[in-house]
């Protein structure tokens, strides 16, 4: 409703703010670029000088939101890891932050997860996947996790917390109260960690999985002339 028509250099962020509120109010698809522009006091076409399309706005929002999640996770992990406390508390705290976020802001979480792989330019740091990797490395360093079980363990842990988060955000799973989320997360992550520690066979398949986020980073840093783009493109396997 603000009638100021000229947001110099700030229209981009202001539009992202409005879009985030709209997502929270009406869901991922229950709003229009026109409505977001109107709320900011600007004509619809003004938005096209900052975003090439509505999808670009949504992608930018998902990047902003995923970065916030990564910071919440890493700070939660840092805060939980004290001297003398259970070594697993770090990654459990990160997982609880992940799941609570999906529970408290489900519409935004659905947007972030659904569009999180589509912006091939933006760099999210720290990405949730990075936080998990760092905590797992810490577990290996302290001896709490078997080094032979380390390769690929990130995906087991990530899948576990991501499954809880999306089941809750999508309303497929319902909890009795907010503290139930922490209990479920801790139980699941502890189970995965002890299960990984006691693996007998050294996981025959080696690194068979990649994170789309890590793929993008290595592609940018390493060989700038991609010889085999087919391996990195997130296309349908089958």
């Amino acid at each position: 409703m603000s009638k100021r028509q000229y947001h110099h250099g700030e229209l981009r962020n202001t539009l992202l703010d409005a879009a985030e509120v709209l997502v929270r109010e009406n869901g991922v698809v229950g709003w229009s670029l026109r409505e977001a522009s109107a709320r900011v006091g600007v004509s619809p076409s003004a938005a096209y000088h900052h975003f090439t399309s509505r999808d670009a706005l949504v992608n930018a929002l998902s990047v902003r939101v995923l970065a916030r999640l990564g910071e919440r996770m890493s700070s939660a992990a840092a805060q939980a890891a004290g001297p003398g406390v259970d070594t697993q508390q770090g990654i459990i705290a990160a997982g609880c932050a992940y799941v609570r976020w999906a529970l408290e802001d489900p519409a935004v979480a659905r947007l972030a997860f659904g569009f999180g792989a589509q912006d091939s330019e933006a760099m999210i740091a720290p990405h949730p996947h990075d936080v998990i990797e760092a905590e797992l490395d810490r577990l290996v360093a302290t001896g709490a996790l078997n080094a032979t079980a380390r390769p690929g363990a990130e995906f087991a842990i990530w899948a576990a917390m991501h499954g809880l988060a999306t089941l809750l955000a999508d309303g497929l799973m319902i909890l009795d109260g907010p503290e139930a989320a922490d209990l479920q997360t801790e139980r699941l992550l502890r189970a995965v960690l002890t299960g990984l520690t006691q693996e007998t066979a050294p996981s025959q398949g080696r690194p068979t999985a990649h994170s789309a986020h890590t793929e993008r980073r290595t592609r940018r840093q390493g060989n700038s002339t991609p010889d085999e783009p087919s391996a990195t493109a997130p296309t349908r396997l089958q």
Copy 2:
């Protein structure tokens, strides 16, 4: 392109078929009711005699698709469970079916997961959640899973496979080949199962979680006069 204008009693299914193809071609939101109607050779408003809205069509499609997934899971579990084979093979086969489905048909999987909780009338049988519960009960019966770890274990297992499935369907995680999905699924589920078996504390929180699908079924069968609808409605906690 079929010019037949009168699909007696079959327009509903024909529209669902067309919508499913469109989802596969253009994604969850990259198509219109009008286009689906046109492909079937019918005017847009004809669809409104079978679905109250576009969302209703999408919901019906998600119900049909989720039921197919449940059957794939249960038949995979039944086929894997033979005499003398590892007891865990049943639930692992079900999990592999779940994850492979998301990998092979990601757009349809995203639709099913995203809209799977919104249709409060339809009954999905067997629901994936049911298949998991049945397999876990079998594990307890054969002694492969500790009975004290059984309550709530369904959600740990469900979250694990659902996390893999959604990470793959959304393109956040990328696999090197189709067989990698089975390896990852088996590794993760085995870890969760052995982790659950070796739990020391009897999971303090008792049944703190529900499946939205189970909620609906018990609400329909049990007390037809719901005294406390707030506990069953999948609303946002906190």
